[in-house]
C-alpha cells in the first residue's frame, strides 16, 4: 500500500505541465544524442548539465534522466540503418539489426527495437519501484567497508570490459583518483596538491573535466577519424508502407526474449560498473546460447536484436538503483547524474527516498511516462530522427564546441575552468587515440573521494586490518558477486562475433 502511495506521489509530481515538457525535451534530446555517432549519453549529459542549473531540481533531473535512457533508443537507429552504433550499449544491436536492414526488413527492425526498448525500460522501472525501497533499507545496514567495495568493484568491472586495454584502464582510473585528491582533505583540513593556488582549494571541478573528456575530446577524435568528410551515405533505406510493420510472428517469437533480456539487463545494470553495454552483450550471449537456431544469430535473427535492446534499456533503469539508494554511480552517465544531484544539494543514499520522496518517486514515475513517450516517438517520428543522421558532422561539431565552452563558463563564470575544459579535451583526445579510458577517469574522479573516505573509516574501525573486508558477510558477498560478474564479463567479451 505504501508503494502505491509513493507511486501516486511520484505521478503527481511528474504529471505537472512543466515536468512533462522537460520530459519530452529530454526524450527528444536523448534520441538525438544517441543517434549521433561518437556522442553517448555521458557526453550529452555532461554538455547539457550546466543548462539545468537555473531549473527546478526535479524538472532538471527528469530531463537529464530522460536524456540518459532515450539515448539507448536513439543509438539503435544508426546501429540498424548504418551498421554504426550510436553509442556503446547499442553495439550488440548491429550484430543482427544491420543484417535485418540489408534484407529489406529495416522497418520491422526499427519497430521491434522500439517495442523491446519499451518493454525493457518499463520492466526496469517496475523493478526499481519494487526494489529501490528494499535496497534502500538494506543499504542502511551497509557500512564504510561495503561502500568502499561497491566503489572499487564498479570501477574494476568497467576496466574488465576494456579487454586488452585493461592496464590503460587502470592508469585512467588512477588518474581520476589522483585528480579527486586535489583540494582540502576533509578529515584534517589540510590542503593537498593546491600548490598555493586559491582556485584549486575547492578541488578539481567535475564539469570541466567531464565536458572536456567526453565532449571536446570526442569531437577532436571524430575529426581525426574523418567523420566530418562523410556525407552520411550508406544509410539503408526503409519504407513507410506495409512492410514497415513487423509480422505477427516477430512479436510471438520474441515475447519471451524481451522479458528474459529485461531481467538480465536489470540485474546487471544494478551492479555498479556493469552498465548497459555489458548487459546488452550478456543478454545477446544468453539468447544465442539458449536459442534452438543459434546459427541464425549474426545473420538477421530478430531475437538477436530484441534481446540486447530490452537489456540495455532495463540496465539503464537498473543503474538508477545504486545511484539513488547508495549514491554510487555505476557508469560515467550516472556519475554525471550524481554530480548533478550533489550540485542541487541532494545527497543520494539510503535516506533519499524518505527525506526527499517527491524527488525520488517523481523521477521514477517520470520514467514510466518517458518510456511510453519514447515508444510513440520511435515508431512515428523515425523519419525526423533519420534526418538528424544526415546533418553533416562538419556543421554540427562547431556548434557543440561552442555549447561546451559557453556551458562550462556559465557554471561559475570562470575562465580558469573553461581553460581546464580545453586542456581536458586535448587529453581526452589522446586518451581515446591511445586506448585509455576517459570513462574510467571520470568515474574515478567522482568515486575517488568516497573511496578514500570509506577506506580510511574502514581501517580506523578495524585498527588497520584489511581483514574487515572479508570478515563482514555483506562485504564478502559483494566481493564474491563482483568476481563472478567480472569473470562472466570477461567470457562474454570472448564470445562476441567478429
Amino acid at each position: 500500500m505504501e508503494l502505491f502511495d509513493n507511486l501516486l506521489l511520484g505521478m503527481s509530481v511528474a504529471l505537472t505541465p512543466t515536468n512533462l515538457l522537460f520530459l519530452m525535451i529530454g526524450a527528444i534530446v536523448g534520441m538525438i544524442v544517441g543517434i549521433i555517432p561518437g556522442f553517448g549519453p555521458s557526453a550529452g549529459l555532461a554538455i547539457l548539465l550546466p543548462i539545468t542549473f537555473g531549473m527546478d531540481p526535479i524538472s532538471a533531473v527528469v530531463m537529464l534522466a530522460a536524456i540518459y535512457y532515450a539515448a539507448m533508443y536513439g543509438g539503435t537507429i544508426t546501429s540498424i540503418l548504418l551498421n554504426t552504433p550510436g553509442e556503446s550499449s547499442t553495439v550488440a544491436s548491429t550484430f543482427d539489426g544491420y543484417p535485418l536492414a540489408t534484407q529489406g526488413r529495416a522497418g520491422p527492425a526499427l519497430v521491434m527495437q522500439a517495442v523491446a526498448s519499451f518493454v525493457g525500460g518499463t520492466v526496469g522501472v517496475i523493478l526499481i519501484t519494487l526494489l529501490a525501497p528494499l535496497f534502500s533499507q538494506l543499504a542502511r545496514s551497509f557500512g564504510p567497508p561495503e561502500y568502499f567495495l561497491f566503489a572499487i568493484a564498479g570501477l574494476l568491472l568497467l576496466i574488465v570490459m576494456l579487454g586488452e586495454n585493461r592496464i590503460l584502464g587502470v592508469i585512467s582510473a588512477l588518474i581520476g583518483f589522483s585528480l579527486g585528491t586535489v583540494g582540502v582533505d576533509l578529515e584534517t583540513g589540510m590542503q593537498r596538491f593546491t600548490f598555493g593556488s586559491a582556485e584549486l582549494i575547492g578541488g578539481i571541478e567535475f564539469i570541466p573535466i567531464a565536458i572536456g573528456l567526453f565532449g571536446l575530446g570526442e569531437i577532436f577524435y571524430s575529426f581525426f577519424q574523418g567523420i566530418h568528410r562523410s556525407e552520411s551515405g550508406g544509410i539503408v533505406q526503409y519504407q513507410r508502407e506495409k512492410r514497415f510493420w513487423p509480422e505477427a510472428r516477430d512479436f510471438i517469437d520474441t515475447r519471451i526474449t524481451m522479458v528474459r533480456g529485461s531481467l538480465v539487463g536489470f540485474t546487471i545494470g544494478v551492479l555498479p560498473g556493469a552498465g548497459a553495454t555489458i548487459a546488452s552483450l550478456v543478454s545477446y550471449t544468453i539468447e544465442k546460447s539458449s536459442s534452438r537456431t543459434p546459427e541464425k544469430f549474426g545473420k538477421g535473427a530478430m531475437a538477436g536484436l530484441v534481446a540486447p535492446e530490452a537489456a540495455n534499456n532495463a540496465a539503464s533503469a537498473g543503474a538508477m538503483v545504486p545511484l539513488l539508494t547508495l549514491g554510487i554511480p555505476g557508469s560515467a552517465s550516472t556519475a554525471v547524474l550524481l554530480a548533478a544531484f550533489l550540485l542541487w544539494g541532494l545527497r543520494p543514499g539510503p535516506l533519499l527516498m524518505t527525506q526527499n520522496p517527491e524527488f525520488a518517486w517523481g523521477l521514477i514515475a517520470s520514467m514510466y511516462l518517458g518510456n511510453a513517450a519514447l515508444l510513440a516517438l520511435n515508431i512515428f517520428a523515425i523519419p525526423l530522427f533519420v534526418r538528424m543522421i544526415q546533418i553533416p558532422y562538419r556543421l554540427l561539431a562547431p556548434a557543440v564546441i561552442v555549447v561546451c565552452t559557453i556551458g562550462t563558463f556559465s557554471v561559475h563564470s570562470s575562465m580558469i575552468e573553461t581553460a581546464l575544459m580545453l586542456v581536458a579535451g586535448v587529453v581526452g583526445f589522446f586518451m581515446k587515440l591511445l586506448g585509455f579510458s576517459p570513462a574510467a577517469t571520470v568515474l574515478a574522479l567522482v568515486l575517488g573521494p568516497l573511496a578514500e573516505e570509506t577506506l580510511r573509516q574502514s581501517l580506523t574501525i578495524s585498527r588497520g586490518s584489511f581483514a574487515i573486508f572479508i570478515e563482514r558477510p555483506a562485504s564478502l558477498t559483494i566481493i564474491i558477486v563482483a568476481l563472478a560478474i567480472m569473470m562472466l564479463a570477461s567470457l562474454t567479451r570472448r564470445s562476441r562475433p567478429s
Binding site: I167, S178, I401, V402, F430
Partner: protein, 150 residues
C-alpha cells in the same frame, strides 16, 4: 606516441607521489590515517602500472597507432578552439562565437560561405536565447566590451 604519453603520465605521477611523501603526512596528529595515505597508494600505483605498461610495450611491441590524413584538421580545430577560449575573455562571448564559427566553417565547409555566415549569426543568437534569456546564465562579456561600456 603511446610510449611518450605514458612517459608523461609517469613523470606527472612521480611529481605527485613525491609531493605525497614529502608534503603530506601518512598519519594525522591524532594517530589516524592522514592526508598522505591515499595519495601515496594512488601515486605508487600509478608509477608501478606505468612502468609495467612500458615494460610490456618494450618486450611485446604493440602495433603503432594508425595515422590519419586528418591530423592537420585536428590541430587546426584544437588551435581555433584555444583561440576561441582566449578570445572569450577579451572581446566577449558573442563576437568570439561569431568569429570562431565562421572561421572553422570556412575551413571545414569552404564551398558555402553564405551558409557559413548564416550559421555564424544564428548559433550565437540561439545561445543568447538559451543562456541569457531563458537560463539567466552568464556569457563572457570581455575586457574590451566592459571598457567600452565603462
Amino acid at each position: 606516441m603511446r610510449i611518450a604519453f605514458t612517459l608523461v603520465i609517469l613523470f606527472a605521477s612521480a611529481i605527485y607521489t613525491y609531493a605525497a611523501f614529502t608534503d603530506l603526512n601518512f598519519l594525522s596528529s591524532t594517530g589516524r590515517l592522514g592526508p598522505g595515505f591515499f595519495p601515496r597508494i594512488i601515486g605508487g600505483g600509478l608509477i608501478c602500472v606505468c612502468v609495467l605498461d612500458l615494460a610490456i610495450g618494450f618486450f611485446r611491441p604493440r602495433e603503432p597507432v594508425a595515422g590519419s590524413e586528418h591530423t592537420q584538421t585536428v590541430i587546426v580545430v584544437a588551435t581555433l578552439s584555444a583561440l576561441f577560449v582566449a578570445a572569450l575573455g577579451v572581446i566577449g562571448g558573442y563576437p568570439a562565437m561569431f568569429a570562431f564559427i565562421f572561421a572553422i566553417l570556412m575551413i571545414l565547409n569552404r564551398a558555402r560561405p553564405v551558409q557559413n555566415g548564416v550559421i555564424a549569426l544564428l548559433l550565437p543568437s540561439a545561445i543568447y536565447l538559451l543562456f541569457d534569456v531563458w537560463l539567466n546564465a552568464s556569457v563572457p562579456r570581455g575586457i574590451l566590451l566592459e571598457r567600452w561600456l565603462g
